[in-house]
Symmetry: C2
Subunit: 332 residues, 2 copies
């Protein structure tokens, strides 16, 4: 059994044990999440995403150090690797790269990999983040590798989302940027000592302006519709573009300042609370779904479902027709 | 209204209209999926994935051409771009790069982007693929950009999964490969005219061998557990590694030959049928979930749910405790 009081008192060994339970979604882990729920909801969650090769990990280390040393806040890093769905492994570097902060109980690092099931990673990450939140960390940095649905899920979890770019990653990567730009609250051009950094920053600015322009004209499913317009008549946030050289600790102060500014913006406009409530709403809805299926399964003999499946396999019934007949009671 | 008979008779304009309905998950689209279900289940679904910059799109064009011209089979391409979650845009190149096959009714190309909601892309893609299957295409090539959860979802949809690599994409990309390798039935090293192609192929082989070795020792959640061991005592499939230069149509015959060989392997071992049934089973399960929630909503006043949510927002009740009380009827 994990000692929850020890976790909230700052016992790091117990924290690590609890996170393993939560990541594996064991009954003990689920119970702990339940009991810790009342203590969570205070940490500022920051998502950091971007294509491979942009130096995200170094940047995250620098940000953590700055938040801890200059801002005197506690900080946890959750490094998520959705590209490793089946092995359950995690990027080794994440565990060793923060040596300079080792021994400081105000800094904590956790690596995790995807569970291979749809939505599994997102919910495991949400659980891990909730525990770190309840354990009292002021900032939680959630770092992801890759560019896809997982980034969108994490953008939903974080209050502030950083998208990291770097100069000269080639055309195909440019295509990816276009989509990911839309979830950015802060844009970072890392490795800005490389040639082309100014061009990358300029291209990002042009893309952003285009995005806003498109929004004004077509009112499509653009990020402004999703984020800024959550609360009507809210002043819009224009994502700043910051050039950094993480390996030389260059530009880090500025990025942290923008994170703090964005947090303030969210709190002042009521968006912080709204995002938290939206997240809780989906969690409750998801649990409702699972609970209803469980209750249904307890009252229905498994053969009924299996017989129906056989008809679907034979393509005699479509999946929809099968479920309709099942729920209308016209099938037994 | 879309004319379904016209779609199955080969009317491409009606097919395109229907796909739009299905992609947008309109009632007409859902109804059409339902009616076309009995006609689907014959096409061989091939997933093609890999990191940006590997030349996947050129490779997919070459494969389509070979399947159409040399194998005399009809072929559809579904190009999925999960990195563009909010705009609904699609990569322009996909629509224009197949000019040489234009006018051939035995070839069809469709681009689609993510819907921005969890699982939205996977289910929209599944619908589009089912329509193309019912429309009679022999092969459906599903191409994805990026590296993440979406690739895993698509691996679940496809019978044969190709992972495309190319020489010299840098260390960070190597990390991604490790995870994605595990979903590969066929590995392609494209751009093999670049220096380092032999090294890449060798590294992949070493990685694969290591994977099998690990599996033998630890029996973890490795791909062999997921794919080859689906049916016990099935001979294992060893993913071949093929070097190609798609821009010069080099190595394409070999890749197509391996796709055909893998299809034969799946059919002979019963894995083809098993994968189809697993997919249908999850679809039915998903519909059951949705149906149960809908039924519950019809019998419960919305205020009950909203009042409960407020308690969760105030952190007086955890999400789990809220749902427990709701389903036990102890809360009103």
């Amino acid at each position: 059994m994990v000692d929850l009081d020890a976790v909230t008192r700052g016992n790091r060994l117990e924290l690590a044990r609890l996170l393993t339970e939560v990541e594996n979604q064991t009954p003990a882990g689920e119970q702990a999440l339940d009991r810790l729920f009342a203590r969570a909801g205070k940490a500022h969650l920051v998502g950091i995403t971007g294509a491979p090769g942009t130096g995200k990990s170094s940047l995250v280390s620098c940000l953590a150090k700055n938040i801890r040393v200059a801002q005197k806040q506690t900080v946890a890093i959750v490094a998520v690797d959705p590209s490793s769905p089946f092995t359950g492994g995690a990027i080794l570097g994440d565990r060793v790269r923060m040596r300079e902060l080792a021994g400081d109980p105000g800094v904590f690092i956790r690596s995790m990999a995807s569970r291979g099931e749809l939505g599994g990673l997102a919910s495991a990450t949400a659980g891990v983040v909730q525990v770190l939140d309840a354990a009292g960390f002021d900032f939680i940095l959630i770092e992801t590798v890759g560019a896809g649905q997982s980034e969108v899920d994490i953008a939903c979890l974080a209050y502030t989302t950083l998208v990291v770019e770097s100069p000269g990653l080639g055309d195909d990567i440019q295509a990816i940027k276009a989509g990911i730009l839309e979830i950015a609250d802060i844009l970072v051009v890392n490795k800005s000592d490389l040639p082309g950094a100014e061009n990358t920053a300029r291209a990002l600015r042009a893309n952003l302006d285009l995005g806003y322009h498109l929004h004004m004209n077509h009112n499509g499913a653009h990020r402004m519709t999703i984020k800024e317009n959550e609360v009507r008549n809210t002043p819009a946030w224009t994502p700043p573009i910051i050039q950094t050289i993480a390996t030389q600790h260059n530009g880090i102060d500025e990025v942290v300042a923008e994170i703090l500014k964005h947090r303030e913006y969210l709190i002042d406009t009521g968006l912080w609370q709204k995002r938290e409530q939206d997240r809780l709403r989906s969690e409750v809805y998801h649990l409702l779904q699972t609970g209803l299926v469980k209750r249904w399964q307890q009252s229905t003999p498994p053969q009924v479902f299996e017989r129906l499946l056989q008809k679907v396999f034979a393509r005699e019934l479509s999946p929809r027709a099968a479920i309709d007949s099942l729920l209308n009671g016209s099938y037994n």
